[in-house]
């Protein structure tokens, strides 16, 4: 059985790899420029193209021309992106002035913004959710506010936050905070409110104090719903952090994507997008570990 599982795993991994190879080849084929051919062009045309830098004299063949590799106007292929990737990660921790930071620094910046905002929101969301879940009155009082606040895009808060705190990084943190607050509150409140009555009854029988009841019954009982809420928050925060960085123009991988657009460095943009994907994947894997730790079987 174990051997079968291993074989199966190898098989699907191999297929994934084949798919990647296929995509890279297709991408390369679609983006390769046809090599320059002078057929049908007048001498004037060729002179004009050389002046504009589209073509250069072939160093190997006297009197012949080839495409200028320095000048790219088409979508970059995987080879160019690969070169860019190597370039970015050959020196990931350089700092040249305020804007030109290495990819390592940008990732660190985004991770720190994300971590602070997400952790703050998760802790406050769980606390708020527990109170709302335990008290029907509090739920009824706060629910209208929550219903209005919940659908507001976290980015809509950004100008107001920036005006209030006057600092780019703090604003990004608060945007992440706003993005990851409501689903956690809602998930926790739902979980706390729907703990099986039996568990609450046992807590009553055993005369638990409020703290023991919270730690032994309420939080573990609500854990699956809390984790579900936190997961939604997590996705929402990951979506919000990139445009927040783009708009604030401080630093970070989201910012980098926009800067590469300003530089018209399309390969750089693709690298930046890939980095966002990988960072998200790593964060998601970390959350998965935490979620597995707090889940239980009925």
């Amino acid at each position: 059985m174990k051997e079968f599982a291993l074989k199966y795993k190898l098989k699907v991994r191999f297929l994934s790899l084949m798919l990647l190879v296929f995509i890279l080849f297709a991408w390369q084929a679609l983006t390769t420029r046809p090599s320059f051919s002078a057929a049908g062009l007048s001498e004037n045309d060729i002179m004009l193209m050389e002046m504009e830098g589209d073509i250069i004299p072939d160093p190997k063949n006297e009197g012949q021309y080839i495409n200028n590799p320095e000048k790219t106007t088409t979508f970059p292929g995987p080879v160019q992106v690969g070169h860019k990737l190597i370039e970015e990660f050959s020196n990931p921790f350089h700092k040249k002035g305020t804007n030109d930071h290495g990819m390592g620094w940008l990732v660190m910046y985004t991770l720190s913004v994300f971590a602070v905002g997400f952790v703050l929101a998760t802790v406050s969301g769980i606390v708020l959710g527990v109170f709302i879940g335990l008290s029907r009155t509090l739920f009824e009082v706060l629910n209208p506010f929550l219903q209005v606040l919940k659908p507001i895009s976290p980015l809509a808060w950004m100008p107001l936050l920036l005006y209030t705190v006057q600092d780019g990084k703090t604003t990004s943190i608060l945007v992440v905070f706003m993005a990851s607050l409501w689903p956690t509150v809602a998930g926790t409140a739902f979980g706390v409110n729907n703990i099986r009555q039996d568990y609450i009854r046992v807590a009553g029988l055993l005369q638990f104090g409020w703290l023991r009841k919270l730690v032994t019954v309420v939080l573990p009982g609500a854990a699956p719903a809390i984790v579900a809420g936190v997961r939604i928050s997590f996705g929402s925060a990951l979506v919000a952090v990139v445009p927040a960085e783009m708009l604030l123009g401080e630093l970070g991988v989201g910012y980098n994507t926009w800067i590469e657009w300003n530089n018209l460095d399309i390969a750089g943009m693709i690298v930046s997008i890939l980095v966002i994907g990988v960072v998200g994947f790593i964060l998601d894997a970390m959350l998965d570990r935490v979620a597995k730790g707090v889940s239980f079987a009925e």
Binding site: R196, D198, Y199, R201, V202, G204, L205, L206, Q207, F208, R212, T216, V217, P220, G221, A223, F296, A297, E298
Partner: protein
């Protein structure tokens, strides 16, 4: 010997307050007293909100459970026997009347009245040992960590749970889970033990073994037990007296049957015993007659 089964008809006519008082003082041995308890639930309207009308589950139920006695209640679904047990536990309040344990009226749940649930109600995130320990810790807050641990281990061993201490309930069979439930209830040495169809979710073969263990534990602990069950054989095997409820709504306590079969009882002995057959027939007749009237109502 043939007439050893006595049937006691409870006084159904309500008495006045002074009579009530005098009766309370003449029966000092009762550990649990159900005193003219009536339970009504509000009738829900279509949108789920309570209306002014109410629906009476049972009315004027009155009986005592003597100290150290094992009493069962049998009746059809909907007669309110679980509701009554929940009120004894303090999860629910009577609409009229009171439940008195050891001279004090029940106002909420407490460690003196432990419940064994049909659904086991073990915390799935705690191991077996922790599920029992948490009760010991609450019952004996002054004990040291080692004392709590030793006491917990004692009950783990008595219930035959040795070796499964570190397992989560999800990995155990229904029988093993209810052993944990029983250990959790017995380990705090409660005055009254309330069993809410404790063996309904356990397969028939395991049920017998756990019933024997429950009897052994009950005899050793000398606790007062009130059990709600559907299983007539189980009720006869375990009980000193069996209370029969008529059908709800407006259910009433029809009669209390004394089970005069000597202890220790074994299943094999029981089957041979003529008393057993008579009691069983009497209860079954009662249940069937109520079933008929129930059907007649519907037709």
């Amino acid at each position: 010997m043939l007439n050893s089964t006595a049937t006691i008809e409870p006084e159904n006519e309500p008495e006045n307050g002074s009579d009530n008082e005098s009766q309370r003082t003449t029966e000092p041995a009762s550990a649990l007293k159900v005193d003219y308890v009536t339970k009504e639930f509000p009738v829900l309207s279509g949108n789920g909100t309570a209306t002014n009308e109410s629906f009476c589950v049972f009315e004027e139920v009155k009986f005592n459970v003597r100290k150290g006695e094992f009493m069962s209640m049998v009746g059809h679904s909907g007669c309110g026997k679980s509701t009554l047990l929940n009120m004894m536990a303090g999860f629910d309040k009577p609409t009229r009347g009171a439940i008195v344990v050891d001279g004090k009226e029940v106002t909420g749940p407490g460690l003196d009245r432990m419940v064994v649930f049909q659904s086991f109600a073990l915390m799935p995130w705690l191991t077996c040992f922790e599920n029992i320990r948490v009760a010991v810790r609450q019952a004996y807050p002054d004990w040291s960590v080692d004392e709590v641990k030793a006491h917990t281990q004692k009950y783990v061993d008595t219930m035959g749970l040795t070796g499964t201490e570190n397992r989560r309930p999800a990995l155990l069979s229904g029988g093993m889970r209810q052993r944990v439930g029983l250990a959790r209830a017995f380990c705090v040495d409660p005055k009254v033990l309330l069993l809410d169809e404790p063996f309904a979710q356990i397969d028939a073969l395991t049920r017998g073994v756990i019933q024997d263990e429950l009897m052994r534990m009950w005899e050793a602990a000398g606790a007062t037990v009130f059990m709600v069950t559907h299983d007539v054989d189980e009720a006869i095997l375990l009980s000193d007296r069996i209370a029969l409820m008529s059908n709800g709504p407006n259910a009433q306590l029809s009669r209390i049957i004394e089970v005069n079969i000597p202890r220790p009882r074994t299943r094999a002995q029981m089957i041979e015993s003529p008393q057993y057959t008579r009691i069983r027939n009497e209860i079954l007749k009662f249940l069937i007659s109520h079933q008929k009237s129930d059907l007649a109502d519907k037709v």
